[in-house]
């Protein structure tokens, strides 16, 4: 047994040392996409790029969007990857301030609607967008014969008491986006009042999306509350990942005027990359029709490029907000901390 054990150890050490030094120059160039845990894309799509440019794509996931960005900033001197995908407009100002991206202007950028191009320095290029908004459980409301909530302001009414669950903006990205929605809607002078009324109406605060959606939302096995802060892409995902085949979505997104926050996700070329040309090609590729049309079914958001064909489940069950809240990165960067602090005092203490 002892010799077997030694063989085992020896083998593992070999494997380890091999893995550490395996990145030789002889193999095709490896280009690394640094991203957050929610990134996903079809198998075939990246292969298209790899074939065309004789390169190998490596995906490096490091935690949620906030943690991934922090690590990108910390590794500024010797970046962990060549491009970074997945910073949204809530964290954008932090990335711009840290100056971790090379400016780049892909040819296809001109086709993207201006409203998505918030970075005038072209360091962060929009790839997709989605709405953070309220989702409600259709069946629950039908059973109780209570009308669906139509607008943010409905939530303070007595008939919606104890029905809402939101995420803590201090540590959750949809929670933060929803806080921004209320600021954008009611203004800096009014949002706290709105939250005061929500609190009086027994709002429930979860620490993250998973607990809110799978723990408290009435669609989940143990949940009791039929309104939750989630995404515009959640209803089609509910259909796509349902157990039985569904003809209509079990949940709906509330997308009335000024009730949702538009989250835009960006890609940027990390300063210090050793494959600048290839990184630019990869950014181009992310705006190409092949990549763009692959986005909805994997990340449940809309492609940034207009006229990209959408999958059936999106066409049928997803909707965009007509008049979403959009805040400039400067406004966010200047005020985010104090908004969160005031919110915490008003709602939690």
């Amino acid at each position: 047994m002892k010799t077997k054990l030694f063989h085992c150890i020896f083998f593992l050490l070999l494997v380890h040392s091999g893995l550490i030094t395996s990145l030789d120059a002889a193999t095709p160039p490896v280009i690394t996409i640094m991203t957050h845990d929610s990134f996903a894309v079809s198998e075939g799509v990246l292969k298209l790029f790899e074939k065309q440019y004789q390169a190998q794509i490596k995906i490096l996931k490091i935690g949620d969007a906030g943690a991934a960005l922090t690590q990108a900033i910390l590794s500024k001197n010797n970046p962990l990857g060549d491009i970074f995908y997945g910073i949204d407009n809530t964290y954008m100002s932090r990335a711009l301030k840290a100056n971790i991206f090379e400016p780049y202007r892909p040819a296809l950028l001109s086709k993207i609607p201006d409203i998505l191009k918030i970075d005038v320095t072209n360091r962060m290029i929009p790839v997709d967008f989605g709405d953070v908004c309220l989702n409600y459980d259709i069946e629950w409301f039908n059973q109780k014969k209570i009308p669906f909530p139509k607008d943010l302001s409905d939530l303070t009414q007595p008939q919606y008491k104890s029905l809402l669950v939101v995420e803590n903006p201090a540590i959750s990205s949809p929670g933060l986006a929803f806080l921004f929605t209320t600021v954008g809607r009611f203004g800096e002078s009014g949002y706290l009042d709105f939250w005061k009324q929500l609190r009086a109406n027994d709002v429930y605060v979860s620490n993250g999306w998973t607990d809110a959606y799978y723990g408290q939302f009435s669609r989940a096995k143990g949940g009791t509350r039929p309104i939750v802060v989630s995404y515009g892409g959640s209803p089609p995902a509910e259909v796509f990942y349902s157990e039985k085949k569904l003809n209509r979505a079990p949940t709906a997104a509330m997308l009335s005027s000024k009730s949702a926050f538009r989250q835009i996700e960006f890609v940027g070329i990390l300063k210090g990359t050793k494959h600048l040309m290839l990184a630019q090609k990869l950014v181009d590729f992310m705006l190409s029709p092949e990549f763009q049309k692959d986005i909805p079914l994997h990340m449940w958001v809309y492609p940034a490029m207009p006229d990209t064909p959408l999958p059936e489940v999106f066409v049928k069950y997803a909707q965009k907000a007509n008049d979403p809240i959009i805040l400039s990165p400067e406004t966010i960067s200047l005020n985010m901390q104090q908004w969160i602090e005031k919110w915490t005092t008003e709602v939690l203490h």
Binding site: L12, I20, K58, G222, H298, L348
Partner: protein, 549 residues
Amino acid sequence: MTSRLRYLLIVPPFIFVGIFFFYPLFNIFCISFSDPASRIVETLLKLLETPYFRQVLWFTTWQAGLSTLITLIIAFPGAYVFSQYQFRGKSLIRALMLIPFVLPTMVTAAAFKALLGSRGVINTGLMFFLNLDQPPIHLDQTVYCVLMAHVFYNYAIVFRLVSGFWERCPKDLPEASQMLGASGLKTFFKVTLPILTPVILAASLLVFVFCFTSFGVILILGGPRLATIEVEIYRQAVHLFNLPRAAVVSLIQIVFTFICMRAYTEIESRSGVSLMPEMTVTRTSFSGRPLKSNFFVWITVGLLFFLLGSPLIALFIESILTENGFSLKYYIALFNNDSRSIMFVPPLTAMINSIFFALSTTVMAVIMGWFTAAFLYRDTQGKASVIDSMFMLPLSTSAVTLGFGFIVAFDSPPLNIRTSIALPVFAHTLIAYPFVIRSLLPAWRSIPKCLREAAAISGASPWEVWCHVDWPILKRALLVGAVFSFAVSMGEFGATVFIARPQTPTMPLAIYRFFSLPGAMNYGQAMAMACILMVITALGGVVIERMAH
């Protein structure tokens, strides 16, 4: 071995911990405090002035203290039964106790909700039997929920320490006391309890440290109104990007847990308390009373099953209870990649990755643990206990701090391993090998000198003495340490959350992935994957322990 040569033993562990723990920590602290506006002392003073932080510090301490006390009280009867009675299935129960160790907090939270949530089993039952309209129990986002989860996670630690120690305690003293007419209760308080004091202290310290640094439980079950120091570090570093503040809070935590670990190692070296009691020498002479019609004993075993078993059973039921009743739908779905996503994790791949990481971790942890224990066991005056407690530090250091430390420390050759898959293994090893030390060291210390001397006098060579005296005892201790290392790595708890991962998804990561998408199938698959994780951990533990025979 001469005492000078002995110091060579500690060189490999020192290098390992130096490079993969102290060096990254040092680096991240340097960067955090590099700005002249945020020097360490100023930041500390400013921080202590904020009422919010004082509140966090106070909550961290009292919830850890209370969790420890409750865990002690609840685990004590179990330890009593297991140390005094002999019955079938005892070793199986002991093995199953390992499972809570590997459960991701999300999964534990789901299990607790299935049991105690407003639509959980218990509330539904009570509403039915008592004819109520509203669920009577509201534990969501309360400190009670946190306390229960801490008991669930730490029961095994108190249980292992106390039952192992109690088993080896001489029975003549309590017997004498009773013979002299003292009541059972009086004997317990005047004789048994004083004998058990060191082990109770040691267990309290370890559980206290684990609860003090609690993160996932507080975040998910505690809700937004409760925060420990560890949660505050995460909030400051990741969401507010206030690195100096995060670093100061992290330092406070390190100093505090170091003191606790110091005390723990002292007690261990003085009184032979052991976290892995089945290893120590005197155990072979143990013969417990058979478990018969003792009512109290049955109650205890039942309670144990209820406490630790019911969340696990609830999980299993969640994984097979679909909209159409019981079925294996979720398990089958794990194998279908309908959307052809590269982020789809085939369960087999996740398993292989997890097992690869866990085995590599186990091997590394065993090697490092062996060197460390070989050095430490000769030290009887407690001189080396500083070193010992230093090696325990990775166990209680903030995951965010260490993860970010890796990023800044290993950014240039020859140590540019930030994106290597060796890094998760090294990180897991840091958390795992303290368990190997805790298993080996008391066993090694418990080998009586006279046994070796007797063998040597009878003409055995030093090699033969080692083979026939030391090795048989150490082998079992090593394997139990290995089982813990395996479990630690399978569950990926502690300092491994913030480490970059190339395309090597593991089972806990697959569970998080499912939990981050809407839709009933995703929830079901997360549950199914969690159950597979439990089974593999238990199996892995059994296989490694079997190697002893």
